[in-house]
């Protein structure tokens, strides 16, 4: 995964002949460090505008993006404007609109809204800092900075953890319920499967695509069918429907994994697969406050290196401690490049 981002980065670097920017109005120049962060527009208030394609109350991925940000903002009494459920087709207009709210930073919650990025170059948005939480990353331009994570790394690790738990519990079938058949969901499933198989080579995994991250009823029915097939651990890789499906799993005495945030201790979740974009965002905001944000660069969060993404085995599982140890070990190996989850997934999927 990292490779692509690097090449993108280099691409930028080579394009620029005259030396890096910094200092006054360097927008559009590579490596530009905008002046007077965080109140770049110097109107006395720090305003962050967040553009999210998904529902920011999905108690999942998108919610986590704003939750951490909110905490951080409140701590420094900054203002947050959240515009969610943006139709990608409408991204540009919304970006312009948010710029008119005299924001200091425009934060884009996911790659789906990449189309909004060119707006950063328009006069409407002159003098704003742009941040993209890019998932697997989008093409870098000098007008924004982004943080990426690698779905393969995090989900492979989640898979390993799942495998370990299954082994410990003598479970051989694992179920994966998600919404529409999107690439990242498919990749996640493949990586997760690969992770499991790295522990239990002849374990069986099932994926059900309900077509809707938020339709609880179909989510449950999909899960129910899997449970009837004797699935022993359930991964609801969903949005609004996550809880409903997890609930069903618990009622059937089946373990469940939770996507995105750390929910160990809640219910009887067995594993928290933590890739909360909120944490990446928070990191970005810290830089912003410290005035260290540099446009045109990509920061990739490495599992095993950065605090997030990571995978946590909850205490509800007995022997959680030493299972966790093994997981940490795997994360270290990934960090060291001894394991290439992407390749594994290609094989495992």
């Amino acid at each position: 995964g990292g490779d692509d981002d690097d090449t993108a980065g280099e691409g930028e670097a080579t394009e620029t002949t005259e030396g890096g920017g910094g200092g006054e109005d360097c927008w559009g120049e590579p490596e530009c460090v905008p002046p007077n962060q965080p109140d770049v527009n110097q109107d006395g208030t720090v305003k962050i505008g967040i553009l999210s394609p998904g529902d920011t109350n999905d108690n999942g991925y998108y919610e986590s993006f704003v939750v951490t940000a909110r905490e951080f903002a409140e701590a420094n009494d900054w203002e947050l404007i959240i515009v969610d459920k943006i139709n990608p087709a409408d991204a540009q207009e919304q970006a312009r609109n948010i710029c008119r709210q005299s924001v200091d930073m425009v934060a884009i919650a996911a790659g789906e809204l990449a189309d909004a990025v060119p707006v950063a170059e328009e006069d409407v948005c002159a003098g704003t800092v742009w941040y993209v939480s890019g998932g697997a990353g989008i093409e870098q331009t000098p007008y924004f900075f982004q943080t990426n994570d690698d779905v393969f790394e995090s989900q492979y690790t989640a898979g390993v953890a799942t495998g370990l738990v299954m082994k410990a519990q003598g479970v051989t079938k694992a179920g994966f319920v998600t919404g529409p058949e999107l690439d990242f969901a498919v990749n996640a499933f493949n990586a997760w499967t690969a992770g499991i198989k790295s522990v239990l080579p002849d374990a069986e995994t099932i994926a059900t695509y309900t077509g809707d991250f938020d339709d609880s009823a179909v989510g449950q029915e999909g899960a129910q069918a899997q449970l009837d097939q004797g699935v022993g651990i359930m991964y609801p890789y969903l949005g609004g429907a996550t809880d409903a499906v997890a609930q069903l799993a618990f009622e059937n005495g089946v373990l469940s994994i939770t996507p995105g945030t750390d929910r160990c201790g809640e219910e009887q979740f067995a594993i928290s697969s933590i890739f909360s974009p909120g944490d990446f965002f928070a990191a970005a905001l810290e830089d912003f406050e410290a005035g260290k944000v540099t446009l045109g660069v990509t920061r990739t969060f490495e599992i095993g290196v950065d605090p997030v993404p990571t995978v946590k085995i909850c205490d509800t599982v007995e022997g959680a401690a030493d299972l966790q140890a093994q997981v940490d070990d795997v994360m270290a190996q990934i960090a060291a490049g001894e394991i290439d989850p992407a390749a594994e997934a290609g094989a495992g999927g």
């Binding site: 990608p88 087709a89 919304q94 008119r100 790659g111 409407v124 990242f184």
Partner: protein
């Protein structure tokens, strides 16, 4: 109490005919008052919700809706941009409803139109103007094709159009997400490891030119396409044999058939045509504002267009202001959202405003009917002189 009440265009006719010139003024005053009242209520309700939901002030709603839709040149431009596809869809829907067909599938037809248009835009070779033309044609063709399924089912198997077009909306959505999820179809070809479910962006030279530039008034040239269509459709309906026969069909299919109008051809044609308009507006959105195909590309434009047509009754000219109204709602709504007012509140505001817009004329109508009844009662109470009965059997 005449047909006029059912047919908006004619309603105006009889109303003004009935109205003595004197109370015209009063009539207008009443209308103004009612509309103000209705919209005030809608906005007040919205404001209330805003206060409860957010820390924003109730004023936000008013000012934001206005600022986002009408205040600045840019806003007005945006309103036009939003209104354009709604208008095109609406024109198509009017054609269908003239023929007595209610096509509630423009959303799906628009999506399919956008899909075919994208395919052409991304693969056709040739001079830009030509490819743009082809793209729009492809859009129209796609829409017509999708409506054609409904037409075929209707005129060969007698399947109700309302329901088939409704179902085809859902199927269209799946078709699109299939197409943009398949690298060998329309899925984007980026270097990114993770491909999003969307097509590539259509090249710059295929994007319709914009006139004026931010922050001044600026609008996509697509608006002229829409304007031209309004003129053509309005004229054809009012003056052409086709329009005449279409109307005949819509009001009385049997008489139409006797007079030589083939229900299948004329009705099917109207349905196809309305599909074509929806598809065309998909092509216009692609080349004019959105530039790439994604699931949810249609953004409810299809339904807005349908609503516009239904509100305008069977009158193509009346679609224009209604579409503009929807354009303003969409533009204002977008801006409102960007002030941090949650999206679902924006939807509520828009819905309330639509209901507010519906209310006054209907209310006046009801009032009129009630008044007539009262008058009758009064008339009955005034005792008329008892007539001497001629030649009564003794």
């Amino acid at each position: 109490m005449s047909a006029a009440d059912r047919v908006g265009s004619e309603r105006l006719g009889t109303a003004s005919a009935a109205a003595a010139v004197g109370d015209r003024a009063r009539r207008i005053a009443v209308n103004v008052a009612l509309y103000t009242l209705a919209f005030a209520t809608a906005l007040a309700l919205s404001a209330l919700l805003v206060v409860v939901a957010t820390d924003a002030s109730p004023g936000t709603v008013f000012s934001a809706m206005y600022e986002g839709s009408l205040k600045t040149g840019a806003a007005r431009g945006l309103t036009l941009d939003e209104a354009t596809p709604v208008l095109i869809v609406g024109l198509g829907a009017v054609i269908a409803s003239r023929a007595g067909i209610i096509n509630i599938g423009p959303e799906g037809q628009l999506l399919i139109g956008a899909t075919t248009a994208t395919a052409v835009a991304l693969h056709a070779e040739g001079p830009a103007w030509l490819v743009i033309g082809l793209t729009l044609v492809a859009g129209a063709a796609g829409g017509a094709l999708w409506a054609g399924i409904a037409a075929l089912l209707r005129f060969t198997r007698g399947v109700d159009v309302v329901i088939s077009t409704l179902l085809l909306n859902f199927i269209a959505a799946e078709v699109v997400s299939y197409a943009v999820g398949r690298p060998w179809l329309l899925q984007e070809t980026t270097s990114n490891l993770q491909k999003l479910p969307q097509s590539d962006r259509i090249p710059e030279e295929l994007q319709l030119p914009r006139l004026g530039s931010f922050p001044g008034f600026n609008v996509s040239s697509a608006v002229f396409i829409a304007a031209a269509l309004v003129v053509v459709v309005a004229f054809m309906m009012a003056r052409s044999r086709w329009g005449f026969r279409l109307k005949m069909l819509g009001y009385n299919p049997t008489a139409a058939r006797k007079a030589g109008v083939s229900v299948a051809l004329m009705g099917g044609g109207a349905l196809l045509l309305s599909g074509a308009f929806a598809g065309l507006s998909g092509g216009v959105m692609l080349t004019g504002t959105v530039f790439r195909l994604q699931p949810g590309f249609s953004q409810g434009i299809g339904f807005n267009g349908l609503l516009a047509a239904l509100i305008a009754r069977r009158n193509p000219i009346a679609v224009v202001p209604v579409a503009f109204f929807f354009g303003a709602l969409r533009a204002g709504g977008g801006f409102l959202a960007s002030t941090g007012v949650p999206r679902f509140l924006v939807d509520i505001v828009q819905a309330l405003l639509v209901l507010a817009a519906l209310f006054p004329p209907l209310f006046l109508d009801l009032a009129r009917r009630r008044r007539e009844l009262r008058n009758a009662r009064a008339a009955a109470r005034r005792t008329a002189p008892v007539p001497e009965t001629v030649g009564a059997a003794a």
